[in-house]
């Protein structure tokens, strides 16, 4: 177990290094921060001076090593747009994205799994067909379109929900929550829904397919032969076996949620990391972009690790070492 975690951490470090490298490539290619800083009237001397101040005149390798060294200490430099340490910016924005992504994930799981189970068990009923059709729409529609249509319907036409922003927040230590603030949920509904739709559809289809597969296995047949109740068979035996692949995909998708949040956050002016990132892109705010990439990679790595540990919790076959148990 310990060895497993250690091995994963080692791999994670490699993955992170690769990501850092790519992140660092950003410095080279995405826009020129110097012109952004100095504005249009800069003289060549000024440009050279700022270039030197930012360390952009040094060789690539030196810059990269410096970057990794700083990044390891959590120092990603200063946002060129806001003049604030990037780490601080990210810390401010992380809660908003996390809250949104977690809520969307919860929504996707809480609705997706039962809908998938239903669609598998009641294959052919009209409700199951409806679920399947809706899920197809969910995977076919681009996120931004869904978001804007939701705004159009619920904010503009019906006026039920706000169309942008996060509203008031409640501070809980470093974390800030809109959900706990009075009326805060109203701000969360539309973005979370938009973000969840794709995942929901995916999870639902996945659960259905897996469930159908599991329902055909011998142990389910044998469980039936033992006369167990349908409840016990479907939710005790089948669902748990279904969960193993669902956990993998969901884990990866949660990371995807955070990445997808870029679009949702832009559409809803949700003050999270995605918005930060996209604004950094329009400003060529390279330190922010680099930090964002590294953070996303870190989140992926952590989620992968958690997924693997969850595997251990769910599937006893993985718990024993190979070779023993004969």
């Amino acid at each position: 177990m310990l060895a497993f975690v250690l091995r994963r951490l080692l791999q994670a470090a490699l993955v992170m290094l690769a990501v850092a490298f790519v992140a660092f490539m950003l410095f080279q290619y995405v826009g020129d921060p110097v012109l952004q800083i100095l504005g249009q009237d800069a003289t060549p001397e000024e440009v050279a001076r700022v270039r030197a101040e930012l360390g952009l005149d040094r060789p690539f390798v030196v810059q990269f090593t410096h970057f990794v060294g700083q990044a390891l200490r959590g120092d990603f430099g200063v946002s060129l747009r806001q003049g604030v340490p990037v780490a601080q910016l990210i810390a401010e924005r992380l809660p908003a994205t996390l809250e949104l992504a977690l809520l969307a994930a919860a929504l996707a799981l809480a609705l997706g799994i039962p809908m998938g189970v239903y669609a598998a068990l009641r294959r052919g009923t009209w409700l199951a067909q409806l679920f399947m059709t809706l899920s197809l729409l969910g995977v076919s529609l681009p996120t931004f379109l869904i978001g804007i249509v939701l705004i159009l319907v619920f904010a503009v036409q019906l006026g039920w929900l706000p169309s942008f922003g996060r509203g008031e927040v409640v501070q809980l230590g470093w974390f800030s929550s809109a959900l706990l603030a009075p009326g805060g949920w109203r701000h969360l509904v539309l973005p979370a829904l938009t973000l969840a739709v794709f995942q929901l559809a995916l999870i639902m289809r996945l659960v259905r397919a897996e469930m159908l597969e599991v329902l055909r296995t011998d142990y389910i047949k044998f469980a039936r032969a033992r006369g167990l109740t349908d409840r016990a068979i479907h939710f005790g035996h089948a669902l748990k076996n279904t969960l193993v692949p669902v956990i993998t995909i969901t884990g990866l998708q949660l990371g995807g949620l955070i990445a997808f949040a870029i679009i949702t956050e832009t559409v809803f002016q949700w003050p999270g990391m995605g918005l930060l990132f996209i604004q950094a892109v329009t400003f060529a705010d390279i330190p922010v972009m680099a930090a964002y990439l590294c953070l996303i990679a870190l989140i992926f790595v952590v989620i992968n690790l958690i997924v693997d540990l969850l595997y251990f919790a769910v599937d006893p076959r993985l718990r024993v070492e190979r070779g023993s148990g004969h």
Binding site: Q40, E53, L80, L152, S163, V281, F283
Partner: protein, 502 residues
């Protein structure tokens, strides 16, 4: 009354001397005031913190400060604050150097009098001073904010997130990308007409969402509504749209330096160096349709490089060459390009109103005379550096004139590139010594009679040579609820003293 408004951008800092950003300059003006300011209706410079001024010599101007003005923390405004603030704007980490270029130093005469000493005669000093806002010296010293915030360093001064000005509003809360709240300053020295007690600003980047926020009533005012939605907004009984000509001219520039254009099928020569070709391109543009369809009327077609508010503008330079496809074809044929030619064409896609659509439409119009423009559109972050590397053959640019003086444009756009900001955006690298000479004379000419003539002459020479192909002055629409009364300003900023919410 609370006034809630939105636009796409966000201000980078509350430090008034850190970033010269149009949006933040406009917002800062609610909290910090400058010595003089434009009158929102006439666009004449009028006194603000300075009660008056007088020219002691061409290079020494004496300003008398208004009495009884208090900063938000209660400290009175003194000459020390003015000296401190102007010097602060001249600091190395400040981005306001363009507004202090001509200033040699600032000297306190007495508690309510300062002298500004110039390096040479400066016809646009007052215009520059409109953007130099005044900060309290003692407050800045107490709160480690003597130097403007350096955006490249993590070091954060107090003034980055806090404000202490003399303006009609005080900073209450600023959460970047979320909300900016200003509240009424009860101790304001003036008697502003506004009935607003609180101003809430939210940046909303996505166009559709911003419009949705207005339509759903979540904001009262949108600074930058999307042009295609205007007919709808105008038709909405709860909303209204007001617009006015912005002091910004959109034009196309052409590479007139290279001997052969990269990406063109014409080898060995540069067709854009040929005046006939430039004229042909000009005359092939159906500006009226562009105005009517693409801009939906939100433009003022022009043949000049500057907007009407700008000194040097005249009816004659405003007149365009006529739209005439036949003439264009003929000119091309005369120049030896009967079948047209291929040329590279670059445009920004998120900078000017409808920039991408304009370029597409122009591409289509040129296609009719056989000029095959290969259009590429880039976001402004990559576009501006790209054209400054002289990589575009034909490019789009919009030039605003904060000083309301045509020299600003002529020097940057037409003068042969050189030191001191000459031709810094002449990215077609046009060079005409005669024109340069006229521009150079205008730099020091302060005579209110001769100066405009010089500028007009330069603009006319520019037109005669078709250095650029002017398109139009942008008309900026503002959208708001019916019950909101504001004054539209050509610099696209709100005058906080005049907002009414009924």
């Amino acid at each position: 009354k609370t006034f809630k408004w939105a636009s796409a951008g966000e201000i980078p800092s509350w430090d008034i001397h850190s970033q010269n950003n149009a949006l933040s300059n406009g917002i800062h003006a609610a909290v910090y005031e400058s010595l003089v300011y434009y009158n929102s209706k006439t666009f004449k410079v009028e006194p603000l913190l300075a009660q008056g001024w007088r020219e002691i010599s061409p290079t020494q101007i004496r300003f008398t400060l208004r009495k009884g003005v208090k900063f938000h923390d209660g400290a009175p405004l003194t000459a020390d604050d003015v000296v401190f603030s102007v010097q602060r704007a001249m600091a190395r980490t400040s981005n306001f150097a363009i507004y202090t270029q001509g200033i040699d130093k600032v000297v306190k005469v007495d508690d309510l009098t300062v002298d500004i000493l110039l390096k040479g005669p400066n016809p646009v000093l007052l215009n520059q001073l409109t953007e130099l806002r005044i900060m309290n010296k003692a407050w800045a010293e107490k709160n480690r904010s003597v130097q403007p915030k350096d955006m490249k360093s993590a070091e954060e001064n107090f003034a980055h997130r806090n404000a202490n000005g003399t303006g009609p509003f005080r900073l209450k809360q600023w959460v970047p990308d979320q909300r900016l709240v200003l509240e009424r300053n009860p101790d304001y020295w003036g008697k502003p007409a506004t009935n607003v007690t609180e101003i809430v600003y939210t940046p909303i980047k996505a166009d559709a969402t911003r419009m949705a926020a207005l339509l759903s009533g979540e904001v009262d005012f949108v600074l930058d509504p999307t042009p295609q939605d205007l007919p709808r907004l105008r038709a909405n009984p709860n909303l209204k749209v007001i617009d006015g000509v912005e002091n910004r001219t959109i034009f196309l520039g052409m590479d007139q330096f290279r001997d052969e254009l990269p990406g063109s099928n014409v080898k060995g020569k540069n067709p854009l160096k040929d005046l006939r070709v430039r004229k042909a391109l000009y005359q092939a543009i159906d500006i009226d349709t562009l105005h009517r369809v693409t801009m939906r009327g939100l433009s003022q077609p022009t043949g000049a490089l500057v907007a009407p508010q700008v000194a040097g503008w005249s009816e004659s330079v405003h007149k365009r060459l006529p739209y005439d496809v036949e003439a264009a074809r003929r000119l091309l044929a005369e120049a030896g390009y009967k079948d047209g030619f291929e040329v590279d064409f670059a445009c920004p896609n998120n900078r000017y109103i409808n920039d991408e659509q304009i370029c597409q439409a122009v591409t289509a119009m040129w296609a009719r005379i056989g000029v095959k423009a290969k259009l590429r559109t880039l976001p402004l972050t990559t576009y501006f550096p790209m054209i400054q590397r002289y990589e575009a053959s034909i490019y789009m640019l919009g030039w605003g004139v904060p000083t309301f003086d045509a020299l600003y444009s002529l020097q940057s756009l037409v003068h042969t590139p050189g030191p001191g900001g000459d031709g810094n955006y002449n990215v077609g690298r046009y060079s005409n010594p005669k024109l340069d000479a006229v521009i150079d004379r205008a730099k020091t000419e302060t005579d209110p009679y001769i100066r405009p003539r010089l500028l007009t002459e330069a603009l006319q020479m520019h037109n005669d040579d078709v250095v650029h192909i002017p398109l139009h002055n942008q008309i900026i629409p503002w959208a708001m609820k019916k019950n909101v009364e504001v004054v539209h300003r050509a610099d696209n900023r709100l005058d906080w003293r005049l907002i009414q919410v009924n």
